[in-house]
């Protein structure tokens, strides 16, 4: 069953000069799939993710998440939809600095008025998976970048969302943390059967996924599946990137 269906989506930024950031994107993600989106800088990856995550409305086409079209929902329904079906991880800004780690993680449940014992049960589960039990009482500025990213992931999955969306979640992490975080995503994907859609620049990061979708200048360009051989998968990602003219390491 397709969890996410994007059909002929367009996004035009209106400004002094209108800019068509996404052109006729069609994309389908199956339940339990782990998909990466790649493309050169400015190709529209963040825009695509923002449209899917309901924080920026597309200008054309349709989006269905779990058979629901979020943009057709009323405001209150949309809030509930976000609360229950979606999880987000961003590259930098994720946590509320006035709250502790534990409070940040529990935030989606608190907003949904989940009972206290259920909260604690779920908290124990995700923090064990992510290995952040010892951080719970700390404030957000007392933890490292990699730890903060793990906390953000914990918050994104604690309410067991249908779809987890991540925009460059490993952007400013060191190699060791990148590997940890990607293994976490894999664990979450496999153990909790969470569907994940993430944006990345890094071929190594993308090689953890089952499929990579390439976009260029706001258009669908190509996609590659993992198959059995991870090494081969990595190679074809790198090849595609070279064709796209994008760089694997950019300093934007």
């Amino acid at each position: 069953m397709a969890i996410l269906e994007v059909n002929k989506m367009n996004k035009t930024y209106i400004g002094k000069v209108n800019y068509e950031a996404l052109k006729n994107i069609t994309l389908s993600v199956e339940e339990g799939e782990f998909v990466a989106i790649m493309g050169p800088s400015g190709s529209g990856k963040t825009t695509l993710l923002n449209c899917i995550s309901t924080i920026d409305a597309p200008t054309g086409g349709t989006i269905h998440i779990n058979k629901i079209s979020p943009y057709a929902l009323k405001e209150e329904e949309l809030a509930a939809f976000r609360r229950q079906q979606l999880g987000f991880v961003f590259q930098d800004f994720n946590l509320v600095h006035t709250l502790t780690v534990q409070e940040n993680i529990l935030l989606p449940l608190a907003l949904d008025r989940v009972a206290q014992d259920v909260m604690m049960e779920r908290l124990a589960k995700v923090t064990t998976i992510l290995g952040i039990q010892h951080l719970l009482t700390k404030r957000t500025f007392e933890i490292s970048g990699g730890q903060a990213q793990r906390v953000a992931i914990a918050r994104a999955i604690i309410h067991e969302p249908t779809l987890l969306l991540a925009d460059e979640p490993t952007g400013n992490l060191d190699t060791k943390s990148v590997k940890d975080v990607m293994q976490l995503f894999t664990t979450v994907n496999q153990d909790m059967n969470t569907t994940i859609l993430m944006v990345t620049h890094d071929a190594y990061v993308a090689s953890f996924c089952q499929r990579v979708v390439f976009i260029k200048d706001g258009e669908f360009y190509n996609e590659v599946y993992k198959g059995n051989n991870r090494q081969q998968f990595y190679q074809s990602i790198v090849d595609n990137l070279a064709f796209l003219g994008g760089v694997t390491h950019d300093f934007s």
Binding site: F81, F93, T98, Q116
Partner: protein, 620 residues
């Protein structure tokens, strides 16, 4: 963990962001409460001047309340801006609109209630001091400490309403914003602003209109409130444009100069330019607040120093006993008064016989009597010939009419020789006096006139005579009746002085509130970007910025933000006072003194803000 926990923690843990705002709210509520304590004092009914105190305190309290409303609304708006990112994140995670509204509402209420409680506790503790101040200003006895339940009630009620209204309005500001705009928040750069000479000139033109109209149309401005309001708005608007454009111009000029990329200058300038709009707005508001503070104090002070002179132009003699011819107690009263006064140094007494035309309130006196009175008042005597008259003003500042009702004079031809614009009788008693040559005066037709005697007294050091004046009034009070009245410059002086002192007292409190608010705005402006700045300095230090350079950057930046508004405010005050020349020359010392005082306050504020801001940048 429930939703309420989150709201609570969100405020409590963010207390350093709110602290300046909280403190200035507390301060405003505190002042309001202190006024209310005097306003509702149970002794008020029995003391003289009580109603005056009540009215002044009410006016003060209303002003404080109005100002608080503006200040609190403005601060909440700024906070909303500051918290955009967090709010966006909450919405992203799925907080419903209702929850967002409730969160903001509770936040405001938490801050509001704690400010009110703090202010009232402080207010009750300090109320003996404030009552003492009121007592000193009014020069009364009694007015002891009491438990001000009524004041507490009214303060809680009014400020709770205020915070409720603001709390209710503020979430509405989120309504139209998309999440994407919230999350991007402070990253959305301001549109790069450009200096425009035309706009600058327009602003200058608007400002120049004000002194021009004051010089050319003084009469209209004095009479027309709408015009005053227009001028005021013109000033506010013009100042904003000039402010904005000048800062733009200066920064751009520096940026374009060849020495721009030298030392720390590019950092200071680009820092200031990065939020030039917000910075300008803040500096503009601070300037306005400081101007308010300066004017409140200087103008009120100037008024209060001229009381003695003003009193004597209203009541030219220290005492005037005005008696109708049929007053049987005249001798008895005059004896009492004489006894009280004749020991005073420089004592002088003079009797003025006046014939009164009751309907028109016109008095007729003889030339020689006028000269006697004029000599006592150090005015020049006049010398009238037959058929000549002089006209003397009856009211302060009103030039008397020249046409003469000839009927009682029995003479068709009269020439007005002098018009004397200074009154010699208590202001308002007559519409004017007509002085006749002595011989003409004897021939006057007394049929329609009634005779009065004004007994005038002067002596030196009359402003010190307050106690005796009170005693004198007491003796005469039950005694004086409708055919006579006593005008006491001492009494008038005392009342006037007390009301001016009250005004000064309230003005001073308002000025303190303004200064506190201005410091709070500066602090708030800095705290808004403290995270970003900290990041920036961290990376700059990695690039080799020395600690010394760091200090220099912060010093320059803060000096610009804090001292420029101060200097501009001072210049505007001096300019305004120069326009009203006589005010300026008569009390240059006071003006310089109070500006120095404010400069010291501001400098202390600058040093403190600088210290804490640097500390918060370097730690964490």
């Amino acid at each position: 963990m429930t939703f309420h926990d989150i709201v609570w923690k969100n405020v409590v843990r963010d207390k350093w962001t709110y602290i300046a705002y909280f403190l200035s709210s507390v301060f405003s509520i505190f002042i309001f409460f202190s006024f209310a304590v005097s306003m509702f004092h149970p002794d008020l009914a029995v003391i003289s001047n009580g109603s005056m105190l009540a009215i002044s305190m009410t006016v003060g309290a209303i002003l404080v309340y109005l100002f608080s409303f503006i200040f609190i609304t403005f601060s909440i708006m700024a906070f909303m801006h500051n918290k955009k990112k967090t709010l966006g994140l909450f919405m992203l995670i799925g907080a419903s609109k209702q929850q967002m509204h409730r969160m903001l509402f509770y936040e405001n209420i938490i801050i509001g209630v704690s400010a009110i409680v703090t202010a009232i506790v402080a207010g009750v503790i300090c109320s003996p001091l404030f009552l003492l101040l009121s007592r000193k200003v009014l020069q009364i006895d009694g007015f002891a400490f009491y438990m001000p339940f009524k004041a507490i009630g009214i303060t809680v009620l009014l400020f709770l309403t205020l915070f409720m209204i603001v709390a209710f309005i503020s979430p509405r500001m989120l309504r139209t914003t998309q999440i994407i705009q919230l999350v991007k928040g402070d990253k959305q750069g301001e549109k790069a602003a450009v200096f425009s000479r035309v706009k600058w000139l327009i602003g200058m033109g608007m400002l120049a209109c004000i002194p021009a109209t004051i010089v050319w149309l003084p009469q209209q401005i004095e009479e027309n409130t709408l015009m005053q309001l227009c001028l005021f708005l013109l000033f506010l608007g013009g100042l904003y444009v000039v402010f904005y454009q000048s800062i733009q111009g200066v920064l751009q000029r520096i940026r374009q100069s060849s020495s721009f990329m030298q030392g720390t200058r590019p950092l200071v300038v680009s820092n200031l330019m990065s939020d030039v709009r917000a910075n300008t707005k803040m500096m503009y508001l601070v300037t306005i607040l400081l101007l308010g503070a300066f004017f409140a104090i200087i103008i009120l002070y100037l008024f209060s120093t001229n009381v003695a002179k003003d009193t004597r132009s209203n009541y030219p003699f220290v005492y005037t006993y005005a008696s109708h011819v049929d007053n049987t107690h005249e001798q008895q009263h005059l004896t009492i008064i004489d006894d009280k006064l004749n020991q005073q140094p420089g004592f002088a007494k003079q009797e003025l016989a006046i014939l009164v035309e009751e309907d028109e309130r016109v008095g007729y006196i003889s030339n020689s009597q006028y000269n006697e009175a004029a000599t006592l008042l150090h005015m020049s005597p006049i010398n009238l010939q037959a058929s000549e008259v002089a006209i003397v003003a009856g009211n302060v500042g009103v030039i008397p009419q020249k046409d003469i009702e000839t009927q009682p004079l029995d003479k068709a031809l009269l020439a007005v020789k002098n018009v004397i614009e200074k009154n010699i009788t208590p202001t308002g008693y007559f519409s004017r006096l007509i002085v006749l040559q002595d011989e003409d005066y004897t021939k006057i037709n007394k049929a329609t006139l009634s005779a009065m005697t004004f007994t005038n007294y002067t002596f030196e050091n009359w402003t010190q005579f307050i106690e005796q004046d009170r005693a004198l009034n007491q003796v005469l009070q039950g005694n004086i009746y409708e055919r006579a009245s006593l005008f006491s410059a001492v009494g008038l002086y005392n009342t006037e002085r007390i009301s001016k002192n009250l005004a000064l007292y309230i003005g001073f409190m308002l000025a303190l509130i303004f200064i506190a608010a201005s410091l709070s705005m500066i602090y708030f402006r800095l705290i808004t970007h403290v995270d970003r700045e900290r990041q920036q300095f961290k990376s700059l230090c990695k690039m080799g910025l020395s600690l010394q350079q760091f200090h220099r950057i912060i010093n320059h930046q803060l000096a610009f933000l804090m001292l420029v508004p101060f200097v501009i405010a001072v210049m505007l005050v001096l300019l305004a006072l120069l326009l009203a020349q006589q005010l300026f020359t008569s009390s240059a010392v006071i003006i310089v003194g109070s500006i120095t005082l404010f400069a010291l306050l501001q400098l202390t504020g600058y040093l403190y803000v600088r210290k804490y801001y640097k500390k918060s940048l370097l730690t964490m």
